[in-house]
């Protein structure tokens, strides 16, 4: 599988698609997200697996998001996600509140080709009360034992950044197995990678243990520092200064608009 140019890969994300995104500590495809901002793809349905931050905030701020399903949207130590918070308060996005294991389970349902998966907990919460798509049944193996059923979520795209790809299209994700679940559950997987691996990742059983097989991968882009300004453990730390700059700008709609215009102009020039 030949690596693609980033614009080519990102162009596969069509308006209105459901895009699954990993958490901030786990290989967020930020370079691809900036390309997505460029391409202007709108009406997106973001599925945070199970939480997101800067990535979701930028897309929301730019008006490209119709729906967010997440257990949380946060910038971690940098505080609340400003454009997300503003969008929810003003009702410009549809917010679908979930809880972390529900998103994992709903993706596992899709991974297993199942219509639903059950999950403990949740009962009596307003998370459940606001989910018209979740059901409560009486556990058929129990006795007066209510349990929640979650319908499968099948994203159109899984989009993430990971360690490396070999020339056969296999990805090395290490112990970030949520990336595998996302890929298994999605119709299409687009990955940016920090490095390219010469050879076959399956030739070495030690490496093979951390592989997401090419069978699940549709597009690969080689993007060193592709998670910046977020961290890529083992390569670079979170760029707190850059994120703080974003947070300051994005505190207001006008500030965000200026940040976006400057960002798009700088990228055009590059």
């Amino acid at each position: 599988m030949e690596p693609l140019a980033i614009d080519e890969a990102v162009a596969r994300i069509a308006p209105g698609m459901m895009v699954a995104l990993p958490p901030e500590y786990c290989g967020v495809a930020m370079a691809a997200t900036r390309e997505l901002l460029h391409q202007g793809t709108g009406g997106l349905h973001l599925l945070a697996v199970p939480q997101s931050g800067l990535q979701a905030d930028m897309l929301i701020g730019a008006g490209r998001v119709a729906t967010v399903e997440a257990a949380a949207i946060t910038l971690g130590e940098q505080g609340p996600a400003p454009r997300f918070t503003a969008a929810v308060k003003s009702g410009t996005i549809r917010m679908v509140d979930a809880t972390c294991p529900a998103i994992h389970a709903a993706l596992q349902a899709s991974e297993k080709g199942l219509p639903f998966l059950p999950l403990r907990g949740i009962l009596g919460s307003d998370v459940l009360a606001h989910r018209g798509d979740w059901r409560v049944i009486d556990n058929p193996f129990g006795n007066d034992d209510p349990i929640v059923l979650l319908p499968a979520i099948r994203p159109d795209v899984a989009l993430f950044h990971c360690e490396m790809a070999d020339s056969n299209g296999n990805l090395w994700i290490g112990r970030r197995r949520e990336l595998a679940t996302m890929a298994h559950a999605s119709s299409m997987t687009i990955a940016t990678v920090e490095t390219l691996y010469e050879g076959d990742l399956f030739a070495d059983e030690t490496l093979a243990a951390g592989v997401l097989p090419a069978a699940y991968v549709d597009a690969i882009v080689h993007v060193p520092r592709g998670a910046w300004p977020l961290a890529m453990p083992g390569h670079y730390e979170r760029d707190s200064a850059a994120i703080a700059g974003y947070v300051a700008a994005a505190a207001s709609a006008g500030g965000f608009a200026a940040w976006l215009a400057e960002h798009l102009a700088r990228d055009e020039a590059a």
Partner: protein, 237 residues
Amino acid sequence: MSASAPFLIATLAHQLAGSRRVAVGALSPMPGSAAFLARAQGLGPRQITVLGSRSNNDFTEGGRELFDRAAQGRIDAFFLGGAQIDGGANINLVAVGDYAHPRARFPGSFGSSYLYFLIPRVILFREEHTPRTLVEKVDFISAPGTSPANVYRPGGPAALVTGRCVFAFDRAKGRFRLESVHPWSSIEEVRDETGFAFEVPAEVPTTPEPDAATLALIAGPVREQIAETYPAFAAAL
């Protein structure tokens, strides 16, 4: 005077006595520090898993492992917070005001709606102790404090630590009981600043101050260990 970070860390660590396997979720610098302190003190935890950490994280199944492990009964204690916490130990991590048009919006429920049911000892922590945060009834229930008897629920709240006091939670009665008051506060102040009713026993001790050895542990190994996941917090500690 308000609570210092080392005081709160030491108070939270005390809540982990006897808990062998502790997990720490997102946005939890103080609880994470408390877990490291409790281990350094030999108080309880032998195994600490910090979400988002690499060196204090033995998960190899991805993000779902925390939840699966909790369901397997392999995690003894966990921390949860709340933008609002009410007298029934219901917690709100989502929104204040009307859900559809909230006055304030927070990140979201994270795993609380699940872990609160499954981990035997959940310690609630909210530093701000005012009628704004400790309310009679939360505006949105991310996770309820108690459940009907027929609901599968091996876990639930054990205590609530704030900047003014420690409450214990009585699951049978479904309400909090004042357990200790921090040195700079009083039962009266706690009453005034709490939006919900709670039980006050005849004797309410003062929350003990951390001793010099404890402070040294916090300034040393604990600060170092928490820095990986919360560098800004560690720098300010």
